[in-house]
Symmetry: C2
Subunit: 638 residues, 2 copies
């Protein structure tokens, strides 16, 4: 028996496998997650890899998925390529890679799914078969005869039962109206677009002949501050593009409480809903234009958001979310016609919302928990999604408990003078040394402000350089040319006007730092409260996933050092970017994943912190750098 060594980059993991083992299987054995949504059938094209060294056989599918240039450069499908040589292979999984490129190239807010799927051990979501909520299926019912003259529609249902099993089938009026002619041209070959609703498949569209192409979906993360959309090819499972915009609702209020209050004013709810619809239509417009897709071919949107955003998107009054006993109007939403909301996709297109858990634990955390695989493992793991609200889930395949705390928009770039979203020109990381500030911006553009990860780095560096104290206030009596006072507030200049895009200085002042301390204090207090509630210690968590719109990456060590994240072994914490979006995409591309979200939302136990005294105590204790109780942060040295 012959073995070959396969070395995977960028993970730098090497594994020996038997001759003929596929590269997908080799990666799995090496503990590397491969996006493989068709189940290894060579259909989805999402397990792209590039062979850097060694020889491989060509596959019949190569020309389907790769250009000649790509084939020359060694690209292949991992699931279709057997090991026949010692190889060095670079993982370039379609989804991860595409997004990363777009985030960098287009300067839009994106997610770091590549991080999510590559870095996490024992990690990510269970395997969900590729079965989009809207999918096309080519069928060939038998033509009617005098002996078997069932109606056209029942012939189609019969064929679908044969292909998909004994489900309940239905048809939309427009599909039914065109049916009789379409099924007969040519000769009883047709393609049905099926949309699942609960236990029933509805035929939304009938096309003559085999037209399996032209079926797209949108995964949507509706955040309080940002709205992000991914365009997904529902035939291949490929992510074609990702775009993010500032939530237009921010003009009516910064956080969910302000939005709920505004929704109670005359016409407020309608304005908030229309803002969100405008956002979504903008995103669709941008994505369809850049990917050259006809938006009539988008048949479904799966959206994940917090409970208030979910309510506002549908135009549901969220008033009682903020009044004791904190009751949302709904946690599980009906399937909605996109047209009824004014969302511009196919006129029969639909919108599904990932269900919520409670008033302050939304579909975003359900989607995130799914994406991070919390309910798939026996080990207890944690997830925190830091947006304008910080939502935390801890659990395993047996149980899942969650809570939320209002973090404010600081980590998404709001609430501070020079904060900005993680788009082109945002300082995403920085180091202060000897009075000099070295920073890196997204897209390597001239700086325009600081995104979440930049702000975390900033506090850390200010503290490390003793410019601020444990109370996050500037030390008195320091002399530093970057340390200025304006409006009676000390500020530290990170970039001078001549360095910046807008010729204005980029700085943080003491009010900004106070905001950031409150945000990080609220987040940490929530994590600590939940862990304590469960009778666990941080180190009993097998892994801790951090999601959020900080930027393209997050310096875990610095986030621990400022007391935002618990002081766990570094390798146990992963930054997974926009896990809500990843979960929404999983649900979009897999019926099973979508159904899992529903059962998950129902089974998660929610702890309400607003009535929980230990949380208030933890919050006060966490308003220091890193914390009033230094024993909680043994590894933090400054």
């Amino acid at each position: 028996m012959t073995f070959f060594k396969i070395r995977f980059l960028p993970e730098e993991k090497t594994i020996a496998v038997e001759q003929g083992t596929t590269l997908a299987e080799a990666a799995r054995q090496a503990g590397i997650f491969i996006n493989n949504s068709c189940g290894g059938e060579g259909l989805c094209g999402s397990c792209r890899m590039r062979v850097l060294k060694g020889k491989t056989q060509t596959s019949a599918l190569d020309n389907v998925f790769f250009s000649d240039q790509e084939l020359k450069n060694g690209f292949c499908l991992a699931c279709q390529t057997p090991a026949e040589d010692n190889l060095e292979v670079e993982i370039t999984s379609a989804s991860g890679n595409t997004e990363a490129q777009i985030v960098m190239a287009e300067g839009t807010l994106g997610s770091n799914q590549a991080g999510l799927v590559a870095n996490t051990q024992p990690g990510p979501a269970a395997y969900y078969p590729f079965k989009p909520l809207a999918r096309k299926i080519a069928i060939q019912p038998s033509p009617p005869t005098l002996k078997d003259n069932l109606p056209d529609l029942e012939r189609i249902f019969r064929e679908l039962r044969h292909e998909l099993g004994w489900h309940s089938y239905d048809i939309s009026l427009p599909a039914l109206q065109g049916l009789a002619l379409k099924v007969r041209e040519p000769e009883w070959r047709l393609t049905a677009l099926l949309v699942k609703n609960k236990d029933q498949y509805r035929i939304q569209q009938i096309e003559p002949a085999n037209r399996i192409q032209g079926n797209y979906g949108i995964a949507l993360d509706i955040g309080t501050t940002t709205v992000v959309a991914q365009l997904v090819d529902l035939v291949t499972g490929r992510v074609l593009g990702v775009e993010g915009v500032l939530n237009l609702q921010t003009q009516y209020g910064e956080d969910v409480i302000a939005r709920i209050v505004y929704a109670g004013e005359k016409g407020g709810l309608d304005l908030l809903q229309q803002s969100m619809i405008t956002n979504i239509n903008q995103l669709i417009q941008t994505l369809t234009a850049s990917c050259r897709i006809n938006r009539e071919e988008i048949h479904i949107i799966v959206a994940a958001g917090n409970t208030t955003m979910s309510h506002l998107l549908l135009g549901i009054n969220p008033k009682f979310i903020r009044l004791e006993p904190y009751t949302p109007c709904a946690n599980i939403y009906p399937q909605i016609s996109a047209k009824d909301l004014g969302i511009q996709i196919n006129t029969q297109g639909i919108l599904e919302l990932i269900p919520n858990v409670a008033s302050y634990v939304g579909g975003d955390i359900v989607a995130g928990a799914l994406a991070c695989g919390l309910p798939d493992h026996t080990e207890v793991q944690g997830l925190i999604d830091i947006g304008t609200n910080g939502e935390i889930a801890i659990g395993n395949k047996e149980w899942l408990v969650c809570c939320s705390a209002s973090a404010g928009p600081a980590f998404e770039g709001g609430g501070t003078r020079c904060g900005m979203r993680a788009v082109k020109g945002a300082i995403e990381s920085l180091v202060i040394q000897n009075g000099q500030v070295a920073y890196k911006t997204i897209g390597n553009a001239k700086p325009r402000g600081l995104c979440g990860s930049g702000l975390i780095d900033c506090i850390y560096e200010l503290k490390k350089n003793n410019l601020i104290g444990a109370d996050a206030k500037f030390q008195r009596g320091l002399r530093d040319p970057r340390l200025l006072v304006q409006d009676q507030l000390p500020r530290y200049v990170l970039a001078w006007p001549d360095e910046t895009e807008e010729h204005k200085p980029i700085y943080v002042n003491e009010a900004d730092l106070a905001n950031l301390i409150k945000s990080k204090g609220a987040v940490f207090a929530a994590i600590k409260s939940l862990v304590d509630y469960l009778g666990l210690s941080f180190n009993q968590l097998e892994h801790f996933y951090v999601a959020g719109g900080f930027g393209n990456y997050l310096d875990i060590s610095k986030a621990i050092a400022i007391g935002l994240l618990p002081d766990m072994a570094r390798e146990k914490i992963s930054f997974v970017g926009n896990s809500s979006l990843t979960g929404a995409r999983l649900a979009l591309t897999s019926e099973m994943a979508f159904e899992r979200c529903s059962t998950l939302a129902k089974s998660i136990t929610h702890i309400e912190l607003s009535n929980y005294q230990p949380y208030m105590d933890e919050y006060i204790a966490a308003l220091f750098l890193p914390h009033t109780d230094r024993k909680l942060f043994p590894s933090v040295k400054y």
Copy 2:
């Protein structure tokens, strides 16, 4: 034990019952069908009776259902009135009575449900519980607390499960949008409007407090020549009104074949569909105006029609219905949004179509079979629905076989010079004696033409008076002042210009008679063929129901004498009026009846006569009065 005698009018049946037996039960024991849609709870008010002789107790419900004047006149609810005296009671069941009044007073085409339910032994449909497809239910979910803070929607679902059992529940977007405020004013009492679709109940509307009133439905019979609508109060089950109009599609073709051909022309299908929608909207407009109902309170329409009419209503191309192998596009239709069709009821209102059996056996015969109780009895019974198509069903609770034949519009008043629909001014019966014509018109108005029953009487009387021969041609050499020749065709004048509304003579000519003979021949041949196919003789049928738009009544003896109906014992044949409409109303007011239609449509065996040589032979043989084979009509004496 004391017994009392109860004598029922107009049936003239007397029965002795124990003291305290309700009049409803007494009627049942006497074999008289009582409309009792609430199941004898005193809720629906449909078992109205009038006590002509004897004393009864008053009931607490009397003032709910009757005016003081009515109470003085002896009106009572049969289900709430115990026998405490010997009584003489007149049956004035709400539905039968209301319709009869409207048919007479308004001069519209109506149906003789009273006949259906009163005359049929062993007879009519099984008892279906009153559970309209759209119904309102007042519920009182518990208000949320910190310990039980389920979302509003799930509280409502929980309460509905408590009230209605473990079904799947859903909610429409508009209902969801208004939910949060409505459930809280006042204090968690609300009324939900539920619409059933397959196995799921959808909340279409939420109203604060207990607002169980204001829920109406339409039962619709979409015939090739006439469209008839009944407005039904879905709270009480009462029929509030009935209206009929000429199918506007008739301008594009007389029968279904002509319509199908026209639908194939450019824009034809759309024109035909819009004609039908216009018809329906007209009917709704008339009914809502006369009953002072807001059409926003109509939440559902249940329509029964032949397969082509069903297709045209939904805008489905019926092309292949007339091409071998005669395949409809669909037999079972999805639930349709009335708004999507342009039907002007509640914006969330829905349309359900009674399923079809085959290309030429429609939902009308399914509804009719249901209304006549064919699938409810062990005895074999028959039903013929004579419209533009004659559809025949024969069977019992074990099996049901049907076929259809093109009868032409003659019996609905089309296809003859002076034919008209059964509306005010139509001659519905006539006698010719000694050269004189005595006729009766609907509404006792001046005559305007002949409806189906008048035409049947007319042929019979012409033959009886030896004015025509067995070939339905006028005898040569007769001298009669009413017998004229115009356009080389002999004609017989039934009413002179000075007698008629329009000052034109009303007559039949030889071409009219030839048409009628073809129609009656086609109908009889179909009945005969089906009975032969089943190896039965006519007298083996326990009962034979005749439905159709002939008029308010049909002279069974004359219909037999002309060879339209088989020569069975008279008491075995009942004219039941518009059984399709009755069945549609049953389905509208009872989920179980609606579901029964679906199973019925699937289980009926269809015999295709167009490829059945015995039918062609029977047709030729039936083109005489009464028939070429006199042995088939032993009781016919002329």
